[in-house]
Amino acid sequence: RQQAFYEAYEAVDRNFRTIFAELSQGDGRLHLDDPEDPLNSGLNLIAHPKGKPVRRLASMSGGEKSLTALSFIFALQRYRPSPFYAFDEVDMFLDGANVERLAKMVRQQAQEAQFIVVSLRRPTIESADRVIGVTQARGAHTQVLGIAL
């Protein structure tokens, strides 16, 4: 059973390193507090965005935290795919360059799974295969229009 854990852990770690490098142009990896006793250990994310020295997770900026969290989610996805992913404004902290990089990665991952992504950011919307426009005239109900791209 510890064997099963290690297998999953190492696969997710490998994925995380690749994905984090692509998204943030930095280095990141997983880290177990206690590699001898993984089933009671804590799992940490070691992240050096853009060549900066390692810093505690809490002191990272909003954008850096988003990229780290999303890298972890994508790393899980590559190991154990879900059929669909639903993201609501996960790009809200990202600057223009990072939104582009994220949108490109979602396009890639969308070859393997369905991605439904709510966003207000132009680079994300422009990278999608299609956009569902949602509107609500004054006080009236939500209406939905499909826009092919």
Binding site: F5, S82, A86, D88, V118, I132, V144
Partner: protein, 219 residues
């Protein structure tokens, strides 16, 4: 597999019935603040039983029923039910399983080479374990389904009591049965495949042990 449609009736900001058609690949949802984008995701979670009322920004389930008239809402804000009749909110999520059905058919064909011509799709060549591992849904005759419909209906009486019922292809089922079916399709309540508005950095602020448990559940 992919979600091919979410039909939303009388749920949150959706009065009447609105069908949201979906396709594989990358779909963006956009529009002005307050238009209902996040509510579409809430509808998906609602139907699949993947979220509590708090997870859908409602204090209690009855808050999820569309309250479109100023009168009804004023009554609700004052804490009393102002409805004259029982109301209901319904969401149906339709999964497209065509690829899974065909993969299953192909697997059956490969594993039962002696099956006479004309006899298709019998699961006889595969063990229970094989069947459990394949993400496929079999109908009563053991044939793979190309579609699966999950429906949830929430009824609220004028007194404010409510019932919530789940259906798989229009047949009543328990939440447990629904989750077992979804698990077979690799959909789990703690799947980390859904990130709600404002939650993206949650993985960073969670306790390291909680984060490790994510890997436990995968292994």
């Amino acid at each position: 597999m992919f979600v091919k449609r979410v039909e939303i009736s009388n749920f949150k900001s959706f009065g009447g019935t609105v069908a949201v058609p979906l396709l594989p690949g990358f779909t963006a949802i956009s529009g002005p603040n307050g238009s209902g984008k996040s509510n579409i995701l809430d509808a998906l979670l609602f139907a699949l039983g993947l979220s509590s009322s708090k997870g859908m920004r409602a204090d209690r389930l009855p808050d999820l029923v569309n309250q479109s008239s100023v009168g009804a809402a004023a009554g609700a804000a004052a804490g009393k039910s102002s409805r004259r009749s029982t109301v209901e909110a319904t969401v149906t999520v339709t999964f497209d399983l065509t690829a899974e059905a065909r993969a299953f058919g192909a697997a059956i064909a490969r594993s039962t080479p002696d099956t006479p011509e004309g006899e298709e799709g019998s699961a006889s060549g595969l063990s229970e374990a094989d069947l459990g591992a394949l993400p496929v849904v079999l109908d009563d005759e053991g044939r793979p389904q190309e579609e699966l419909r999950v429906t949830r209906r929430l009824r609220v009486t004028p007194q404010g009591t409510y019932t919530s019922n789940y259906y798989l292809d229009d047949r009543p089922c328990t939440l447990t049965e629904l989750h077992q079916q979804l698990n077979r399709l690799r959909i789990y309540p703690e799947g980390y495949n859904v990130v709600l508005q404002g939650d993206v950095t949650g993985i960073i602020s969670m306790h390291p042990r909680e984060r490790r448990q994510i890997i436990d559940e995968l292994a």
